[in-house]
């Protein structure tokens, strides 16, 4: 149904796309490519009077660091656990909110409020609540007798990761709930009516009608979310800064540390590694989910 390609249309297309393309090329691609080139240079703010090309030296230096691998493992935990809880809690919330009830609008407005906050603020908020001395979470747990001694949540390696993930889950459930709710609403009513006629139970309906219909959407949402969580250092940065002892370092906070250390060359190398990782994962993921769709 798409109109054929003509010169007049070409001009129209070009004009419509031009502003966006100009912005993205100038302010995203140009600095990004410069940043990538730096990955192959010795580029340390300590002395930038000479910045020779050094081939893969920065990559070698990064890959030789234990911290990089620790950060990579942490990234896996951070993404997988956050995603798991965000997804299932979000799904649950969406299912509960699917049918209209009195006050649903109001409820949505309140429950979606974390979405309005920035990762930076949320990090600070939770950092305050998880505070080892004056934190409200310690106080609540003490009062209810769940613990009998304050826990230095952000100060203990094991707890710190749990804490940042709790904050991230709190933040991200909303997103999934919104997206999944919309996906659920996109299922044509006729499908359910047909299933009703067949006398299928609610559970069977969910399994055989709802799920297959929204699966492509879910797959896409999950992919976007994975990329986003991985590229989301704000929260960790303001909660723990990657500590203690690198136990909450993810690959993006590792990158920030390289840049703050003044070594833009290594920073660029880490950035490229992240990009490569994400691209490879996306391709793999899309192939895998499309495969399922075809089946």
């Amino acid at each position: 149904m798409r109109p054929a390609f003509t010169l007049r249309k070409a001009r129209f297309i070009a004009l419509c796309l031009l502003p966006g393309v100009v912005f993205v090329v100038l302010f995203t691609y140009y600095p990004m490519i410069r940043g990538m080139v730096i990955a192959f240079q010795r580029y340390n703010l300590f002395d930038i009077t000479s910045t020779p090309f050094v081939g893969l030296e920065n990559f070698r230096a990064v890959l030789a660091e234990d911290r990089f691998w620790t950060a990579l493992r942490n990234t896996g935990t951070w993404v997988a656990v956050s995603l798991f809880f965000q997804f299932f809690l979000g799904f649950g919330l969406a299912l509960l909110l699917r049918r209209h009830f009195r006050g649903r609008g109001l409820y949505q407005a309140w429950v979606f409020f974390p979405w309005a906050m920035s990762g930076f603020l949320i990090g600070l908020l939770w950092r305050w609540m998880f505070n080892g001395q004056f934190g409200v979470i310690n106080d609540l747990l003490l009062r209810t007798g769940i613990i009998d001694q304050r826990i230095g949540f952000l100060a203990t390696p094991g707890w710190a990761m749990t804490s940042v993930i709790v904050a991230n889950v709190w933040y991200g459930v909303t997103f999934f709930a919104i997206m999944i709710m919309a996906a659920l609403q996109s299922v044509p009513k006729e499908l359910y009516e047909a299933a009703d006629v067949d006398g299928a139970s609610k559970l069977r309906q969910f399994w055989h009608v709802t799920l297959p219909h929204i699966r492509p959407t879910l797959a896409l949402i999950v992919l976007l979310r994975i990329i986003w969580i991985l590229n989301f250092p704000d929260l960790i940065y303001s909660m723990t800064g990657g500590g203690p002892a690198g136990s909450t370092d993810i690959i993006t906070t590792f990158l920030i540390q390289q840049v703050i250390g003044g070594d833009y060359g290594r920073g660029g190398a880490v950035g490229l590694l992240i990009l490569g990782l994400l691209l490879a994962f996306s391709v793999f993921y899309m192939n895998a989910t499309r495969f399922e769709k075809a089946r």
Binding site: D47, T49, G152, T240, G241, G243, G246, I260, G261
Partner: protein, 419 residues
């Protein structure tokens, strides 16, 4: 006509952009931009009053002060310097002096036709030219650590050695109270380095304090391992568990809020403690090692002018103004720093109360002032790496031997790069 809405949108956007640009300065007026690094709200206020005095004395000059958050301030300064514009006067720290001068960003400051130079203490003059052999900055004051301790927590005498500090700290620790404001977060490694230095005793070369007189690194000795093991013990047995991630603010707050009984910090904390609810406290020189030596660098920072300033004369004028006796003493008092002006030596404020510990340390030949290898290329990388190593050490993720081995290797390698 087809593209009208697009054109309209674009021109609307460009109009907005023009409208939003910041206004240019009025004619005949010189605008200086100045940036500070070790920011705090109180200090920024103080600098602003000094700048107001400067503007009053020089009605044609206006100074805009930039005060980035402390954590990222030096990175911000580097970033601005890199563009070689839009900055005239800046705070240069001992950590940053070398890299700023390496890159040619600092202007050489004239000393001969400025009467203020003669008024600087010997130490201030020495530090002004320490990096690069030329005066790229005028220090505004010095930082030296001292031990703050509670006198009402059952300790008769302040500890004089690290071993004593550990024992005293252990005794103080019970329930919600802890012995020592440990620093496990940002800047924490500096404390273990300080202990290692003390344990190496007179083998250490004070001019290059990460090396021994026999050119090996201070991290290569068995004494270094002893010091590091004690460091871990102090954390585990005499410090709050939370302090694993404490940086400057938390450790000071730990002391002033009554969580900890001892704190090792710079003189600027004197003011903070005076204003806190902690009343029974005193100061003492920093603890020594087993052979009776203690080493510490004298930290400093100062004001400098950029090499690319469009108003070099006015920039130098401002640096000199800030470094003259009246202003520099006001600044040193306001931040409780060791002053740079000879005239301050007669000032009673710098020899009373909490300051006595500094005099005591100055008179003790075994309290040695050192110079750290801040001018080695790996310095800033080591600052970042060593903090994480120290944290890994106290959380048991790395052993003393592993950490010392990597630090020894790092500085052995650095020595090769420099010579």
């Amino acid at each position: 006509m087809r593209s009208t809405p697009l054109l309209a949108a674009l021109s609307a956007a460009s109009l907005l952009l023009v409208g939003c640009g910041s206004g240019s300065s009025s004619s005949g007026e010189v605008r200086l931009r100045m940036i500070e690094s070790l920011t705090s709200p109180e200090r920024t206020k103080l600098i602003k009053t000094l700048l107001a005095d400067f503007e009053k004395a020089n009605p044609t000059i206006k100074v805009e002060l930039i005060s980035p958050p402390l954590d990222s301030a030096d990175q911000k300064i580097t970033q601005i310097l890199q563009t070689k514009k839009g900055l005239d006067v800046l705070e240069v720290r001992d950590h940053t002096a070398k890299s700023f001068s390496n890159n040619g960003w600092l202007a050489e400051l004239p000393t001969t036709d400025w009467p203020g130079w003669a008024d600087l203490t010997e130490l201030a003059q020495k530090k002004a030219v320490e990096v690069g052999g030329k005066p790229f900055l005028i220090p505004y004051g010095f930082y030296e650590r001292t031990l703050f301790y509670r006198t009402d927590w059952g300790m008769a005498q302040p500890p004089t050695t690290w071993e004593e500090l550990y024992e005293a700290g252990k005794k103080m620790t019970s329930g919600d109270k802890f012995g020592y404001s440990f620093r496990g977060g940002k800047g924490g490694a500096d404390y273990v380095v300080q202990m290692i230095s003390a344990y190496n005793g007179d083998k250490l070369n004070p001019e290059k304090s990460f090396y021994l007189k026999d050119k090996r690194t201070i991290f290569s000795t068995p004494e270094a391992a002893q010091a590091m093991d004690l460091f871990v013990k102090i954390f585990k047995e005499a410090s709050p568990p939370d302090s694993v991630s404490w940086g400057y603010p938390e450790m000071v707050q730990g002391f002033t809020s009554g969580v900890t009984g001892m704190l090792i910090q710079d003189p600027e904390v004197i003011k903070t403690v005076e204003e806190s609810s902690v009343k029974a406290w005193s100061t003492a020189p920093i603890p020594k090692g087993p052979t009776g030596y203690a080493f510490q660098p004298v930290g400093y920072a100062g004001w400098g002018a950029t090499s690319f300033s469009e108003h070099p004369k006015e920039a130098v004028k401002l640096v000199q103004f800030l470094s003259e006796a009246k202003q520099s003493i006001a600044f040193a008092k306001g931040n409780s720093l060791i002053p740079i002006s000879k005239q301050a030596q007669n000032d009673p404020q710098f020899s009373q109360g909490a300051w006595k510990a500094y005099l005591q340390a100055q008179q003790d030949p075994k309290q040695v002032i050192t110079i750290r290898p801040v001018d080695y290329p790996g310095w800033s990388q080591f600052l970042v790496d060593s903090d994480r190593d120290a944290q890994a050490l106290i959380t048991g993720k790395k052993t003393t031997a592993e950490v010392l081995k990597s630090w020894d290797a790092f500085w052995t390698d650095q020595a090769k790069k420099v010579s």
